[in-house]
Assembly symmetry: C2
Homo-oligomer: 408 residues x 2
């Protein structure tokens, strides 16, 4: 590689660094059975015990003894990798069973596993314009990068509507050619702002303007609804969403993503989506573990109650103490910082001085100027851990001169 | 969903069906310790014992007791999923160690794990034009779908050169603007044609025209080179390839993909590639299993010898019996059929009547008119299994009126 090329790669990273968003990956090891405690491997070779406050293993299912047992059993029975794409020897009985279970969870004909939630969004949205020529996509402004990647890949007409703004969405739908196929793409729970989409109203608009609905429930499956079917299940709206997209990597504690829909949609995506076709399927043991996890959470409303209680407790304590908590309806508790350098600094101090791990959320994950710390209390985060966190924040907020509402 | 939409989804699948390339996924369960034997779950609910002849678990590492032990140990220690993106609590010590091992394997500064080989290609190639404005990519005509997806995502100037054709590549390089950044993207082993790229000569051209080189070694890592570093290692060319891309899902028997390159390239891709940033990292146990697998294959040249011996034995027997074997230099043994319906029929008969599982390879995996059966003998495919295969093919070739060279 010539120096000219090297300089360009270096410059690309320098830009990231200059904007205060150069990312240093923390090397941690989760300790099974002891979550949210973990070991942090520091750059100098030493190790520290820390408390993870930013995991998307929201319910701690990644350490469930039943899930672990299912994974180990499947590895013993079927080995590690699947050895092929879904079409070329990579469809195992575990995949088939998991897809049936997910279809049942969302009350759809069929489900289709993908290697990740990212791939599920990108592959599915990316192939829609091929199936529906002339497609016009209406996309919420806060949609996840993977949805944006899929829509961009589709190279179709698209309109971005203001976040959760029904008027803006209707304006866009009304302005569009009434004869072209339409699809409204949105999330149920927005992970960084911790707010929830007006699903019913979006579906009403979809009916009115004859649009398909595509809802990303990755931050909701397992955690909302009587059986963990997500916000759409909670609100009795699953049958009004044409394509529900979910993940196995968050509340279900594994890896992988999926869509659930009627037979015709699934068969078309299965037959045409490049990101689904040309990739090795998930390992049998991943499917086995996820199957167990979905089954467990289906019958564990008490875990969901406990989870919400913990999130509510933290949110209340932070709000009462005057911290700028964002959102108020989900299990995610973000604190606005509004500056990338301060956000990184606050996170570093929390980790170094207090063993509290909350990764800074900077651009491009959130818009510039809205950098934040994002806490995800699980059922395993105790009151004592919250005491520690509040104490540490007190110090950190002062150190970095961050704003706090005056409290009585 | 209105009937109009439903019709469009149905029509999309009908087109696939009309072209004889509708895919029926075989529901199999690998039996650990018994590979390539497996159980086939038939649609009528019955089960058959079969021999898998089309797995990309080329070396059978998916059932290695040592790899399985590493996976189970890591699940016990760290739980199942990683719980986050690499940046947000999803970097574990297992990931760090595996990346170091892969960098060492390819003699590069750094390696970067992705959730799949597909994602590694798409995310890396997709971000290149952002780092190198004005980029012109030169892409081999037979490159994998994931590379095509990445290049398409980059939305840069691209020229497709004839497969493995140095003259055509040079013509294209010569015709290009000498001042723009250039990248030559190719594979080492082409999986469907079982041939190998002229890597040295491509690198010579890259030097001459100041282009970067990107080589997909997914069908070579673990299987070629003294330590399993791939064809580039075998030919002493690793230092001449700027970005080596590999997979953990084939010879290494797990799931996941990666790139290996110098620090500046890795840091730029790590900092900017959407498909890397916004997705949950591989489970710790996947990284642990892959680490073990890479380490084992590094010191197992005897397995590579055995693997090549088995592939050679099958290729020789088929060639002697007059079958249209494609290619002659790799571990993959494809037989040309040249018709999608016959290819599907032959595969069905092999499976139903002989318990031999070789999935038909149809469009879009290969060009129309070049449909084929593709056999991948592992070190665990015995002479007796080959006897059975030859006997079955004799019948199938006759049944479908397929061509065979007359033999003395």
């Amino acid at each position: 590689m010539s120096n000219k090329y090297r300089d360009q790669f270096i410059r690309a990273v320098d830009t990231v660094r200059d904007e205060g968003r150069y990312r240093i990956f923390r090397d941690v090891r989760r300790r099974c059975g002891d979550f949210p405690k973990a070991t942090w491997f520091k750059d100098d070779g030493s190790e520290n015990e820390i408390t993870i406050w930013c995991s998307n293993d929201y319910m701690g299912m990644g350490q469930s003894p039943c899930v672990i047992e299912a994974v180990k059993q499947a590895v013993d029975r079927a080995g590690t990798g699947s050895g092929g794409t879904r079409n070329i020897s990579g469809t195992t009985h575990y995949h088939v069973q998991l897809e049936q279970e997910l279809a049942e969870l969302h009350q759809k004909d069929k489900a289709l596993l993908m290697t990740s939630g990212y791939v599920a969004n990108e592959a599915t949205l990316g192939v829609m314009s091929k199936i529906l020529p002339g497609l016009h996509v209406f996309s919420d402004a806060m949609n996840h990068a993977s949805m944006i990647a899929g829509i961009s890949r589709a190279r179709c007409e698209k309109t971005i509507f203001k976040h959760n703004d029904l008027e803006d969405l209707e304006r866009a739908l009304k302005a569009a050619d009434p004869h072209v196929p339409k699809l409204i793409a949105f999330e149920s729970v927005y992970s960084m702002d911790a707010d929830i989409a007006p699903i019913k109203e979006i579906c009403d608009l979809a009916d009115k303007y004859n649009a398909l609905t595509y809802c990303d429930e990755v931050h909701a499956v397992g955690m909302y609804g009587p059986r963990g079917g997500g916000i759409a299940e909670r609100d009795g709206l699953m049958d009004r969403i044409d394509i529900i997209q979910g993940t196995l990597a968050k509340a279900f504690g594994m890896i992988g993503g999926y869509i659930a829909a009627n037979t015709d949609i699934i068969d078309a995506v299965r037959s045409l989506a490049s990101g689904f076709i040309f990739t090795t399927s998930l390992p049998p043991s991943t499917a086995a573990g996820a199957l167990r996890s979905v089954k467990i959470l289906k019958i564990s409303p008490h875990l969901r109650t406990q989870h919400q209680e913990r999130a509510g407790a933290l949110r209340t304590r932070l709000t009462r103490a005057g911290y700028p908590v964002i959102g108020n309806e989900t299990h995610i508790v973000p604190l606005m910082v509004g500056d990338p350098i301060a956000c990184q600094g606050a996170s570093d101090t929390l980790l170094n001085d207090y063993g509290i791990y909350a990764q800074p959320i900077n651009f491009p994950t959130v818009p510039k100027g809205t950098e934040r710390l994002r806490f995800t209390p699980s059922p395993f985060h105790t009151d004592a851990m919250m005491d520690e966190l509040l104490l540490a924040l007190e110090h950190v907020w002062h150190t970095y001169g961050l704003k706090r509402r005056r409290v009585a």
